[in-house]
């Protein structure tokens, strides 16, 4: 029994033979054709297109991120069916906006596209979640929230993932966060040890645990106050 692969890379563009890229220019060069189509279709959302080291970056308005990603995923001429990464960039110059970055791949066309949205620092950092289109965005967006404090609206379960829920020092990858943390080492260790390992259950895990009465009193109080017990 031998069945063919269910999805074949390059099936939409069989003539394109991928090769190792060489001698890429720093700026310029051929842009990904999807960029132009995004500009025409989402003229209000499109900000600018850049080609850096052979990779096309499309800057869009943050509010329309989900719309653009949905179009890229669903349209037959685009077929960006693979979300490689969701992350953010904060520059050392704190005047510059924080950028949210999506790396998308079209496996049938063998294309790569980077979407960027610039979030002004004047308002809370918010951007729509692309989770309704890509389930893989779940953890990537949670990590981005954990490390940068960017709120992904529409994400089903946006809570910290790498740091624990009661982590008080802030968002580690922000540039105003010192490399060694805000607190002294002894204070960091004291806070870490003060957290009972039992408290690291999420709310819906606790809802099915019949050991609620056995939890530490401090934790039951926090639960009663409606506080989330954390990661």
């Amino acid at each position: 029994m031998s069945t063919p692969a269910l999805v074949t890379a390059g099936s939409a563009a069989p003539d394109h033979v991928p090769v190792t890229p060489r001698n890429l220019p720093n700026r310029g060069g051929p842009a990904n054709p999807s960029a132009e189509r995004i500009r025409l279709r989402f003229s209000a959302a499109h900000v600018r297109t850049e080609v850096v080291w052979g990779e096309t970056t499309v800057y869009i308005q943050p509010a329309s991120a989900l719309e653009v990603v949905r179009y890229l995923h669903d349209d037959d001429a685009e077929q960006y069916d693979y979300l490689a990464d969701v992350t953010a960039v904060e520059y050392r110059d704190l005047e510059l906006p924080v950028q949210v970055v999506w790396h998308l791949r079209s496996i049938p066309y063998r294309r790569f596209l980077r979407l960027k949205a610039e979030l002004a620092r004047t308002a809370p950092l918010r951007v729509p979640s692309v989770w309704p289109v890509f389930k893989g965005a779940d953890w990537l967006e949670r990590e981005c929230y954990d490390m940068f404090g960017i709120l992904f609206e529409g994400h089903p379960d946006l809570r910290r993932i790498l740091m624990w829920e009661q982590y008080q020092e802030g968002y580690p990858l922000r540039k105003d966060f010192p490399l060694r943390g805000r607190f002294s080492r002894s204070e960091q260790l004291r806070q870490a040890l003060a957290a009972q390992p039992e408290t690291r259950y999420s709310m819906h895990e606790l809802s099915i645990a019949d050991a609620f009465e056995d939890l530490p009193a401090e934790m039951r109080q926090r639960l009663a106050r409606g506080q989330r017990p954390g990661e």
Binding site: A5, L6, A9, N26, A84, D85, R92, H103, G136, E231
Partner: protein, 435 residues
């Protein structure tokens, strides 16, 4: 481009309603004859009871590190699986913002520590694109050798630990014997067993020593024997087949939507391999095949990884044949340190040495995302430079982080013991997941 499908004729005695192979354990009789058992009829739940919460990890031998899984069980069936990660979060990306490009390479060793040379190469390819340099051909071929050796290294650990999880101890010892041989090769090459720091931006840390190729030839001649031995022992074993076929299956569409990559994605029937589709290191010029599964269950992932090791041996054979003479480093005084003798005797070399060590090379303003096919999947490094010697952002795209995020989808509805098999089949490495 040639691709092929791994045949999973074994023990697929029929398809269930969803078109997936039915789980039907094989039994080997005393005469060596293989017979198929009828699948057990599903038991009707007779007892009504409360759901139970089980916590696995973070310190558990079957979680391959410090993963923590919280399982809600109905009897022995998993109703809900909630993974918790972050117990090994060490702030790699933050540290990267405080280090020069060459100084970051030791951290890439320790991030996916089963695949250190592969990470070194991936980082260097990315940084070189950011600096706009092209490495000489000898360096490219050496990097292919390092990438494929480290793929074998990583798959060997996966093989050993997966076999332990499912109940076979011996393949662990065999695979670690082979791994020791790769350790020896890397130790001869660069001086370290596990954390190699093999590459530099613009070249390699060292050229291979004299006679090294003989050791490599010896290794690639004998490795297939070990793989065949494990194959004979495990692939058609009744317990193995019974515990892996039909477990944790994901179809192609789900696998793509969850962003899976590497053997996980290919086992589900998507033949996406970064080496073929977005090549680097001249992979398009090597003749190798990408194994693709059909059902995306634990068994297919096992077959795909076993076949990948054989294909890596094929690539290594070709790389050994084509290794050209010449330099391994780019001829660029900005990036590559001058020889010590020159740095202490020539004014210009000394200045280059001083500038590189004290200040570090400066890439132009720009950004790049470079992905390689790591043993776990698409490993990407995303660099953003503002023209200073240290990156503004060094992002690791962790394949096993994304692969692991699909475990609730895969585990729910299976038995508790199957969760261990599913977890083993993802081939997670916590250093990469938590970074």
């Amino acid at each position: 481009m040639s691709k092929r499908t791994v045949e999973v004729t074994l023990a697929t005695s029929g398809l269930d309603a969803e078109g997936r192979p039915q789980r039907s354990p094989l039994v080997v009789n005393e005469g060596g004859r293989v017979t198929t058992l009828e699948p057990m009829p599903a038991l009707e739940p007779e007892l009504e009871g409360e759901h139970m919460l089980i916590n696995i990890g973070p310190q558990h031998p079957a979680t391959h590190g410090v993963l923590r899984l919280v399982l809600e069980l109905d009897g022995e069936t998993v109703v809900r699986c909630i993974p918790h990660v972050g117990y090994l979060h060490c702030g790699f990306e933050k540290i990267g913002e405080y280090r020069q490009y060459n100084q970051i390479i030791p951290w890439t060793d320790r991030e996916d520590y089963l695949n250190s040379p592969g990470n070194n190469v991936a980082f260097s390819i990315g940084a070189e694109r950011l600096f706009g340099v092209e490495v000489p051909p000898r360096c490219t071929v050496l990097r292919v050798i390092a990438l494929e050796l480290s793929r074998i290294m990583s798959h060997l650990v996966w093989l050993g630990t997966t076999c332990i999880d499912i109940g076979a101890f011996t393949p662990f010892l065999w695979s670690f014997q082979e791994r020791e041989r790769i350790y020896t090769l890397f130790e001869q090459w660069i001086g370290a067993r596990l954390t190699t720091t093999l590459t530099r931006v613009g070249g390699m840390g060292a050229d291979i020593p004299d006679g090294w190729m003989d050791g490599l030839r010896d290794f690639i001649r004998t490795l297939p024997k070990t793989i065949a031995e494990v194959d004979r022992m495990v692939t058609r074993h009744g317990i193995w087949v019974g515990r892996t076929i039909g477990i944790g299956a994901l179809n192609a569409e789900e696998a793509l939507n969850y962003g899976l990559s590497g053997p996980m994605l290919r086992a589900s029937g998507v033949d996406y391999d970064v080496r073929k589709d977005f090549p680097y290191c001249d992979y398009e010029t090597y003749d190798f095949e990408v194994p693709v599964g059909t059902t995306g269950d634990v068994y297919d992932r096992f077959l795909v990884r076993m076949e990948e090791m054989r294909q890596s041996v094929r690539i290594l054979e070709q790389a050994v044949e084509r290794l050209p003479d010449g330099p391994v480093n780019v001829d660029d005084a900005r990036l590559i340190l001058p020889p010590k003798s020159k740095a202490t005797s020539e004014m210009e070399s000394m200045i280059h040495h001083f500038k590189q060590v004290m200040e570090g090379p400066r890439p132009p303003v720009g950004e790049t995302y470079v992905a390689v096919e790591s043993p776990k999947g698409e490993k990407g490094y995303y660099f953003v430079s503002d023209g200073t010697p240290k990156p503004v952002r060094w992002r690791i795209r962790p394949p096993s982080f994304v692969n692991l995020s699909a475990i609730p989808k895969m585990a729910e509805g299976h038995l508790l013991s199957d969760v261990i098999a599913i977890n083993a089949s993802i081939d997670i490495v916590m250093g990469e997941i938590d970074r």
